[in-house]
Symmetry: C2
Subunit: 195 residues, 2 copies
Amino acid sequence: MDSLHKTKKEVKWEILETKELLHIDSRLTISVQKVKLPDGRIINDYYHVEFPHSVITVARTIDDRVVMSRQYLHGYEDVSIVLPAGTTEKGEDPLETAKRELLEETGYASDDWKYLGAMKPHTNYGCGKVYFFYAANAKIISEPDRVDLEDMEIVLLHESEIINAIKNKNIISIGTITALSLAKIYLQGENYYAK
Amino acid sequence: MDSLHKTKKEVKWEILETKELLHIDSRLTISVQKVKLPDGRIINDYYHVEFPHSVITVARTIDDRVVMSRQYLHGYEDVSIVLPAGTTEKGEDPLETAKRELLEETGYASDDWKYLGAMKPHTNYGCGKVYFFYAANAKIISEPDRVDLEDMEIVLLHESEIINAIKNKNIISIGTITALSLAKIYLQGENYYAK
């Protein structure tokens, strides 16, 4: 029971078989895996969910505000303030997706980008992969050019306003809260606040 | 385009039809919805993913350490340090799930629980609902009693160690990072750190 001192290879489960159960173009693929655990046990029905990869960006203006939008999100069946985000098109570099989505959704651009890491959303099912970015000195360069389903409004929030929005359940997005945390840790590491 | 001043009812999409495509006992249900947008547009194929509801707990000891575990997570195909978490059984109150999972996974218990809110993980697909909890003055009262697939090790981390673990990609869990953020905001609101 001492996985801390085992290598990743020693603890990794082996996928013996994968059977696709449902495939909806690029949007959704459900499969069932037969997997072998390191202790030799076999699990015959471990379900895996694949979504398109996505990006989330914390874009910060020179006056220390974060570019966000307030919109209805049908997955939540609720309204939330969220960061600019979107799904990568086939073969697209996630950084390019992030730049494109920031500009299309908000009209903002930056020439100072930092990659903050990528995570798979679900401990059991996977559910695609989310790439997190930070963009410094974001400036508005155009009108939002969003031909999409969302009826959205751009909001620029200071850190204290973000914290209040989380407290008041006006931010109810796990992806957005994670991205904000990663950006804050990155900025503290750079002594950004201490300058 | 001014959703900020619209009520939730005004912006909410109407689900006209739901057709189930795949249903795997309590683990996974995929359906396709016909939805009507507030502007009258109809979307015939909006996909919805339902997972069991789950809980995540930030349990803190009296010496300011957070109870976590390091384990292989097959959804990530990787190892991560994560908070105690689990899925609610049918009809189970999420707080009871949180208490049960904390004790089973780690051997810790608390008599001072705070509910930090619930969120649906995915902006488009939904993907169930996650309930977040904070447990103060957590104490070890038994051995972990976990008969499960995971080969895990309990780790107790101070805040600075958590930040380093996030920086070093030893914490790669969106749910864990969100829960830690919510707990930190809650504790700051209570002036916990200032006492």
